[in-house]
């Protein structure tokens, strides 16, 4: 790496990151989500106390990037593993990082019940409307009419069902302290996403229940789009189907000032 003079340095690796070059595709917003988490952990001085739980999906190697303890869960089971960790180490910060196949398909049981139990966990949920890692099959979040390798003619809701809106669904559960949806498609929304991630970790740090931030994310590779057009796709097609918003902010969470 070339080193820059400090006065020219405008962008640096957050302390929460290791020096691992990214394995994500160009234009993929998984990396943006990672960076926001690392920045929040650094700002909250949580790095030594944090244990992350990686999913099965493109983020399976998330543990390579974060400078915290990490475990790697079976597909969909991250909330159960995180429950096990948090119950024996209640003073640690435990978060899962999960894709939409992981969380909303195979891991639906685990996520719903972790939320219902009000586990003091933080979940970062990457909704990219497909199974990225396995080559772009239909996910529960795939938009109606959207072509994937397993819905080649476009998702037909008559035979392949309707998209699942996780943030809305989990927000109905009493164990949830904070549950919102944000998007990673432009700088303004990225800033808002970071704020939400901060709120989610604050919720956990104060023992105020389950917290989840759903992030609308890109998958240029499997969507067959350029990075720029996939950002547009998020704005024009995903946001109408998955409205951004605060689906639940518990009364105690609402008083948190950051």
């Amino acid at each position: 790496m070339t080193t820059l003079a400090p006065n020219n340095l405008v962008y640096d690796r957050p302390e929460g990151f290791t020096e691992t070059p990214t394995h994500y595709c160009p234009g993929c917003t998984h990396g943006v989500a990672h960076r926001l988490i690392a920045e929040v952990l650094e700002e909250m001085n949580l790095i030594p106390r944090t244990i992350g739980v990686a999913p099965v999906g493109c983020a399976v190697f998330a543990y390579n990037y974060f400078d915290t303890d990490f475990v790697e869960a079976p597909h969909g089971r991250a909330p159960a593993m995180a429950t096990g960790i948090k119950r024996v180490l209640p003073d640690r910060i435990v978060f899962t990082y999960q894709g939409d196949g992981d969380l909303a398909s195979i891991g639906m049981g685990e996520i719903v019940h972790a939320a219902a139990r009000g586990e003091n966990l933080t979940v970062i949920f990457i909704n990219n409307a497909n199974f990225g890692m396995t080559g772009g099959q239909m996910a529960p979040t795939t938009l109606p009419g959207m072509k994937t390798t397993s819905s080649p003619n476009g998702r037909d809701v008559e035979t392949q069902g309707y998209p699942i809106r996780m943030a809305e669904m989990l927000a109905t559960l009493d164990g949830v302290g904070y549950c919102v949806r944000r998007s990673l498609h432009d700088p303004k929304n990225i800033r808002l996403a970071k704020k939400a991630i901060r709120m989610a970790f604050e919720t956990q740090a104060r023992g105020l229940g389950f917290s989840m931030v759903e992030l609308l994310s890109t998958c240029p590779t499997n969507w067959g789009m350029t990075p720029v057009s996939s950002l547009k796709f998020v704005e024009e097609h995903m946001m109408p189907a998955y409205p951004l918003g605060d689906y639940k902010v518990g009364a105690a969470v609402a008083t948190i000032k950051i």
Binding site: A73, P74, A80, A82, E110
Partner: protein, 373 residues
């Protein structure tokens, strides 16, 4: 400490507590539910973790998470639930973290019934989850032995960074027997150098079962293989009865071994020189002692509460040198000592089966015995 009357499942739960259990995660299923119910009271009372999970999948992955922190953790279930846990067991094995799982086996396959059976032997000992992985399996035959093996199971799991399963059947789980509990052990932080419990004052750690590079996975599998050789060399446990002058030997584990012992005692009182070998570790299996016995006895009778699963392990050790007969009851039916005594009489009279697989003539003989009533 003096003996008290304990129900098997509750004794297992209390023995685990006294061994320093820090967390229990489970899901109700007969005939093991008393373990979960007992711990739902006992663990919170001691300030320890208890969660009734949403499913056995949830439970085993909670176990997996807690195991990664280096805590003493267990789950318990019965056959259909244990099947659901196989994914988690494979990951736990691949990550090389210690965990204890109790299977109070019931009649199967499928939903089967809730009566005592031993038909998950192959799943526990030979199969189960995917991938090359060894695991320790202990098989108690009484409430006292179950208590003693619970303490041992945690020690073995941690020593070898391996799953330790305790398999029993509903009759041991539900039976009341006088037994002695060990003293309460304090919870100790074992400071495992692999535990992911927060990188406070140390380098961060990662626990995963991924070896994306095949040669690295091969190295990992050989490491597990080497560790398994150590287990095989040091941890084989069994009980022998009347073997010194035995002319033929019964082999049975758990309840089947216990029932066989009654039959052997009666046969001895009749002057028949029969002995009993009851494996306590069914994995690692006591191949060596059977190998030695095969050099001097005229044959074996394997008795199980299944269609003949451990039977294959006995045959492996005997290597065709002498006949190995089989007698089993299955589907939740427990054999009476008289049934095994009948087999002893047949063999003592010199009627060994002649075919390559004596389970064939056993099934033929059973035609008169098995009925839907």
């Amino acid at each position: 400490m003096s003996k008290e009357l304990w129900k098997g499942n509750e004794a297992i739960a209390e023995a685990a507590v006294r061994a320093g259990l820090q967390a229990y995660f489970g899901y109700p299923i007969t005939p093991q539910t008393e373990i979960l119910e007992y711990l739902s009271r006992r663990m919170p009372e001691l300030g320890r973790a208890f969660v009734q999970a949403e499913s056995e999948l949830g439970a085993i992955n909670m176990v997996y998470g807690a195991a990664c922190t280096g805590s003493r953790v267990m789950s318990s279930s019965s056959s259909p639930g244990v099947s659901l846990m196989m994914e988690g067991l494979s990951y736990i094995a691949g990550t090389e973290v210690p965990a204890v799982l109790v299977n109070v086996m019931r009649g199967g396959p499928g939903l089967g019934n809730i009566a005592p059976a031993q038909s998950d032997y192959n799943q526990a000992v030979h199969g189960g989850g995917h991938g090359d992985y060894p695991r320790i399996v202990l098989a108690p035959a009484s409430v006292q032995e179950a208590i003693d093996l619970m303490g041992l199971s945690f020690d073995l799991a941690e020593k070898y960074r391996m799953i330790c399963m305790v398999i029993l059947d509903g009759s041991v789980g539900q039976m009341m027997e006088p037994a002695e509990m060990p003293e309460m052990k304090p919870i100790v932080d074992r400071k495992f150098e692999w535990a992911t419990n927060g990188a406070i004052d140390r380098e961060r750690r990662i626990l995963s079962s991924i070896y994306i590079n095949p040669p690295a996975e091969e190295v990992a599998n050989f490491r597990l293989g080497k560790r398994w050789q150590e287990v095989q060399a040091n941890e084989v446990r069994y009980k022998e009865y009347f073997l010194d002058d035995a002319e033929f030997v019964i082999v049975g584990f758990g309840t089947a071994g216990r029932v066989a012992l009654s039959a052997v005692r009666t046969a001895r009182s009749e002057g028949i020189k029969v002995g009993l070998l009851r494996p306590i570790t069914v994995s690692p299996y006591p191949y060596e002692v059977i190998d030695q016995l095969a050099g001097r006895v005229s044959g074996f009778l394997v008795t199980e509460m299944n269609m003949g699963q451990m039977y294959d392990d006995v045959r492996l050790a005997v290597r065709g040198r002498v006949p190995v007969e089989f007698y089993g009851r299955t589907g939740g039916v427990v054999p009476f000592p008289d049934e095994i005594l009948g087999e002893i009489h047949r063999i003592a009279a010199g009627h060994w089966s002649r075919e390559a697989d004596p389970r064939v003539s056993w099934q033929t003989r059973m035609a008169d015995v098995i009925s839907e009533k």
